[in-house]
């Protein structure tokens, strides 16, 4: 099968489809995944292809859904549970963190929970405080969980396929702002392996580490910086767990400067984690402080202008890059 142009949404759908085709143990369970085709249309049509036994429309019972997926995974299915918004994860954190994540451990390796929790997060639709969050940090702080957050069309496909091959629970967080993004999907060729970051842009002056939708802001920022003569390297984490840090450290040790960009509220974010690790392991190479550029530490406001202003923009990233390079604050800042 050769590479095709498609959308992030359809790449995810294709991954589900291929996985369901290959393995009849793969089932989907979640609110509106069947007849409705998914709140963001990702699972459209799958119920017709695979019947209501494998594409299961669930009641609005998030904890029950994840708990059901845990039990199904324990007994041999490969459930993909869908949480319509990552914001609802507060309803399922017990089932996710105390049950799915810890079962293998508590039970001494006897019981595996190979499930995927698909969900989506982020801003961009004026969906307000309870439908716009980026909560991956909670999962990153939960031993036993894997965590993937694709930023590109090819990754949307391959990371989900990879997730569905993992022997342990994976949280797979899509970004609502990326579903209509177009790109190339090469079903034969992943950008990299599971757990391996990818350098999306080579550069020698500073390293930007990011993931999910912020990758695209970072790339735009790198273009802007280039105009100011700054050559930024951009690393896309793809998976936050497992995470092969070597690629990040190598880059930072080359550039001597690092900025970590996340859409999540900055305090206690994945950006803090990455910054701490770089601070620990790249100390002798650093020319400047490792800085985090994250969402404001506020709930997401509904007003479009406020919402937009509450998360990092390409402009803010570029501006910080200039500061980091000790250049003058540019006119556009």
């Amino acid at each position: 099968m050769s590479a095709i142009e498609t959308t992030y949404r359809d790449a995810i759908r294709q991954a589900l489809l291929d996985a369901m085709e290959e393995d009849e143990n793969v089932i989907l369970i979640g609110e509106e995944v069947g007849l409705y085709g998914g709140a963001y249309g990702v699972t459209k049509g799958l119920i017709d292809l695979y019947s209501a036994n494998r594409v299961i429309d669930a009641p609005i019972s998030e904890a029950g859904i994840v708990g059901t997926a845990v039990g199904a995974a324990m007994t041999g299915l490969r459930p993909v549970a869908e949480l319509m918004y990552v914001d609802f994860i507060g309803l399922v954190m017990d089932q996710l963190a105390n049950q799915a994540a810890k079962s293998r451990y508590m039970f001494g390796g006897q019981i595996a929970v190979p499930m995927v929790l698909r969900t989506q997060g982020g801003t961009g639709r004026s969906a307000a405080a309870q439908h716009s969050q980026s909560l991956e940090a909670w999962m990153l702080h939960t031993p036993g969980l894997r965590l993937a957050m694709p930023a590109t069309v090819n990754d949307a496909y391959h990371l989900l396929r990879d997730a569905l091959r993992q022997p342990d629970p994976v949280v797979f967080i899509e970004h609502k702002g990326l579903y209509t993004m177009k790109g190339t999907l090469d079903p034969e060729t992943p950008d990299a392996g599971w757990g391996t970051p990818v350098i999306r842009r080579d550069g020698k002056d500073l390293t930007i580490v990011t993931y999910s939708r912020m990758l695209h802001e970072a790339m735009r920022a790198a273009d802007t910086m280039a105009e100011a003569g700054i050559d930024a390297e951009v690393i896309d984490l793809r998976c936050l767990n497992p995470l092969d840090e070597a690629a990040i450290f190598a880059s930072v040790q080359r550039t001597g400067r690092a900025m970590i960009v996340t859409e999540a509220a900055t305090a206690g974010s994945a950006a803090s984690e990455i910054a701490a690790r770089i601070g620990e392991s790249c100390f002798d190479w650093l020319e400047e402080p490792v800085v985090r550029i994250g969402g404001e530490d506020i709930p997401i406001p509904v007003s479009p202008s406020l919402e937009k202003g509450s998360i990092p923009s390409a402009q803010l990233i570029a501006e910080a890059g200039l500061w980091l390079m000790r250049k003058e604050t540019p006119a556009w800042a």
Binding site: S61, R125, A128, A129, P289
Partner: protein, 339 residues
Amino acid sequence: MTTNTAPLSRYRTMRRIRSFEERVGELFLRGESAGSMLHLSIGEEAVVGVTDAMQKGDTFTTHHRGHGVFLGRGADPARMMAEIGGKASGYCRGKGGSMHIASHALGHLGANAIVGGGIPHVVGAGLTYRNRGTRQVSVAFFGDGAMQQGILYEAMNMAALWKLPVLFVCLNNQYGMGTRVDRSAGRLAFGERAESFGLAAAHGDGTDVEQVHDVASQLVVGARDGRPGFLEIDSFRFYGHARMDKSPYRTPEEEEEGRKRDPVLKARERIIAEGLATEDEATEIDTDAAEEMDAALESAVTAAPPALDTMFEDVFAPGTPAPRPQRDRLRAILSEDAA
């Protein structure tokens, strides 16, 4: 002999709700709403039977489809519309929007975008009223979808156990997004669920605001005396789940049939039939409502958006440490002076 003019007043409120919701749809079409997560309560206006059975000082929470409930409790449509447009003059300064509208002054403890999220708050309010002996009642409004959320049963149990002045109102519009209620509930006799937790349960006919008002009044009286209750009101969601949804999961016939169950039309016919209003007077009510809501719409469209740095307000109380803007932090770290 005095005539009971309450049905007239209720009709007026229902019509105002209908008109308001139509304008919300227009706000969206004009690209002036904050987002598309706008859930119209058209078809569910008989909820006015409940809001009218509540008293001043009573409080409530709603789900995401709560515009009608709030109007029923006296909301200013212009401030509501401004909030739905994300404007500074809205009830929540443009921070909440349609799904998070509230008014402390009117006893609206908050609309919620988490299905079931606001339900336990009325239990807490009930505790406050019990402890203070204020004889207030707190009412949770939610949809049939929330009947499958565990927290509802925790809340029901606590209300019954502690005999709190609380009422649970399920606005069963037959659908949660694309899922018809019989595809989400193992058994549909929701009143029995409530009874099994120790609540008084009743059923409301969502096409008949006066019947709803009768049963709601009884339940509110009971709740005020420490006998918490549950009311299920059957209706039909006339339009899609939210503004983007065209309901492809329903047949045109089902929609047509459903929309025949129109509580506003039925109330209108009734007030005329009962001589509370002439056809012309009813039409005047309708026109007044339309004009009021047109004005609300226009005022929302022209209202100013919130200033950017208001985003840092209201995270915590004024006078306590506020979040530090990213840009300030970055500037402090990276400015030459700091280094």
